[in-house]
Symmetry: C2
Subunit: 396 residues, 2 copies
């Protein structure tokens, strides 16, 4: 066997994803790329702000000697200072560069975090539906993920969390704005969560981390201010990236932030820095660190995403689909008109629309739409979504 | 405990490195950065070729729409084609883009490889002295590294390899030009190694991978042509980077190449692609992939490294140090004049020279010098090296 048993098992388990992907490819071959409407990818479609490219150009025209070399594993000090200063301003907490570790995107950050904190057999609770890669990320480092149900409108169910936390629970991971639902947790909800985790830590005499995976923090609508988790619980670790707010998903640039008031922070930060090194990340890509530093207060045009959301929500509502109105990210997670979401996604493929079945997020009976697509793709998809709705007795 | 037991153990085990590092820092504080001669870092000191920055500038001036987005996990097709075409030309083998997976440096590549091939309890043999991070890399993925002795002049000892390979041996990893010795394995040596591994695979009825970690392949002297491992053994996986040949260590850009004639390659490549994704690398940094594609046939000035080597070797020979003459990389691994290499490195610190004790490479009784430093640093260090030699009865 040319690969390990665990990797082979993982490949087999994800074979249905491949089959759907291949069905989509066949459709594209048959009808042309233009005539297949792909809403299955979480790939930011906007271009980075022009100031970002200006900074890249400046760096390429007058390279700073040594700027492509190895650096301390946590990253460039000035970049970390820029991140810390934004966080300090936005949270009122005393962040310094010491609490910031630059990372290779949020996916890299989460692997570094899990490697650093998980002992064999320890588990991470995650409210479902959730980003399925968490399972592999925790499994990479000897831990596991256990999904727990959410409550009404995919909000946290604190009663469930209280029941499900055990002494094997090393962390709970939340993701707001959420992939796949687009739901944002309110400050009140986060405050209650923090209080509950404090109570449970004390009761179980254990350290329960709150991991906040927040790459969509700045893709947020309706004039909302992003509700940070920091104010409500100090054993908090944030994993995030510039993938969505600066549209840099392929550049693998993000960071880990440790709560400045967490009393185990020195050892934790040392551990995170070590894991960054030995997992082979070594440091986040050097030039991108400098480039995001110059763009630290910039954002892609979030209004564009909001317009896409509004267009999509209005149409799907008219068609009779049921869904929770999303306030962030660029996803919608409607109920499928039939119980079998994989079958429904396959029906949509026959209408040349690609979506992701909810079972791929631990949310069966639903499907995920990414509206981070060009307007014409969204328009084209609406037609197929309407036909599929009608086929199951909805207005369509 | 705020971190896992395994990470805490690793931090404790490397505490002597920290102590030496801190001693060095104190020296720098006391005498000034200019007056401390640091030969302890494997950080390429040359700047990338100017064509590389021209390409960066071109990309920043006229960004290709979508160039910062996610891409297939194996990387940009055109970049992989450029790598494959160079390998095909230099090896005569039928490389295509399908055998190339872009990686976040060789450290990232090795983590991806180990994750993909190692079952729990399997081991990777490594001829000592060796790059110490291999231990952590294999340990990250449930495997382990077992060091085996080399023969005369740090060359491979095939008799030892034959004795040490067992049914638990999943791979042997070699690193030529070698860190820390600078030794290059000859085609004859690699041919014998390939034949031995074929014989042992058959005898043990198992698949033994040959992993070649070759980031220094193009930092090679004396008119040598790089002896590739590919011609001699088909279950070969190469991990490498552009960190040294283009001086891009901080940008985390490299690749994995799978032997085109390996009969398990399809499953292996699928596994490597999966591991790239779930370890959180997702893909190698996007813009750097494009930039190295344009510089695929370029190199930093290897002549400069050769001049540094010659200057260093001549001087150390005169001082009475014993060492194997290196033919590549930018390291020298002399015998310490006393048995205790950590003590000798500490003596050198008192002469304001920083080196790495051989024990940090599984080569006690030696020390590693990196001559990837400015000329004035090398000159300054020679004085301290001379004093330390004299203190132990060498000419100095």
């Amino acid at each position: 066997m040319s690969i390990s048993q665990s990797v082979r098992k993982a490949l087999e388990a994800s074979s249905w994803v491949r089959r759907m992907f291949e069905l989509g490819l066949e459709m594209k071959k048959q009808f042309g790329d233009d005539q297949v409407f792909d809403l299955s990818l979480g790939n930011p479609v906007l271009e980075p702000p022009k100031e970002f490219h200006q900074e890249l150009r400046r760096l390429a025209e007058a390279p700073i000697p040594g700027m492509h070399r190895y650096m301390p594993n946590a990253g460039i000090k000035e970049t970390r200072m820029a991140v810390a200063s934004r966080l300090a301003r936005e949270t009122g907490l005393s962040f310094t560069e010491n609490e910031i570790i630059m990372a290779s995107g949020a996916g890299g950050a989460l692997n570094v975090i899990f490697k650093t904190i998980l002992n064999p057999g320890e588990e991470v609770l995650v409210p479902a539906p959730f980003f399925w890669e968490y399972i592999a990320y925790a499994g990479n480092h000897g831990g596991s993920v256990r999904a727990i149900p959410t409550g009404k409108d995919f909000q946290l169910d604190l009663g469930v969390i209280e029941e499900e936390v055990t002494s094997a629970t090393r962390a709970i991971i939340i993701n707001s704005p959420n992939n796949p639902t687009g739901v944002v947790y309110s400050p009140e909800m986060l405050k209650s969560l923090g209080a509950l985790l404090s109570k449970l830590s004390e009761k179980l005499n254990t350290l329960i981390y709150l991991i906040s995976d927040e790459p969509y923090a700045r893709i947020i609508f309706d004039g909302l201010e992003y509700p940070y988790v920091y104010p409500f619980y100090s054993p908090t670790i944030v994993a995030t990236s510039f993938s969505k707010d600066l549209s840099l998903a392929g550049e693998r640039i993000g960071y880990i932030a440790v709560h400045p008031d967490f009393n185990g922070k020195l050892e934790l930060i040392e551990g995170l820095t070590y894991s960054t090194r030995v997992l082979g990340f070594v440091n986040a890509p050097a030039m991108m660190q400098r480039a995001v530093q110059a763009s630290i207060d910039l954002n892609v045009d979030v209004g564009w995403y909001q317009t896409q959301r509004d267009r999509l929500c209005r149409s799907l509502e008219d068609m009779g689909y049921q869904f929770v109105h999303p306030q962030g990210a660029f996803y919608l997670f409607p109920k499928a008109p039939i119980a079998d979401d994989v079958a429904f996604a396959q029906e949509l493929i026959s209408h040349r629309v690609l979506v992701t079945p909810g079972v791929g997020f631990g949310g069966p009976g639903h499907f995920r739409i990414s509206y981070s697509v060009e307007e014409r793709v969204l328009e084209g998809a609406l037609h197929g979504l309407s036909l599929a709705a009608r086929a199951h007795g909805l207005p369509g």
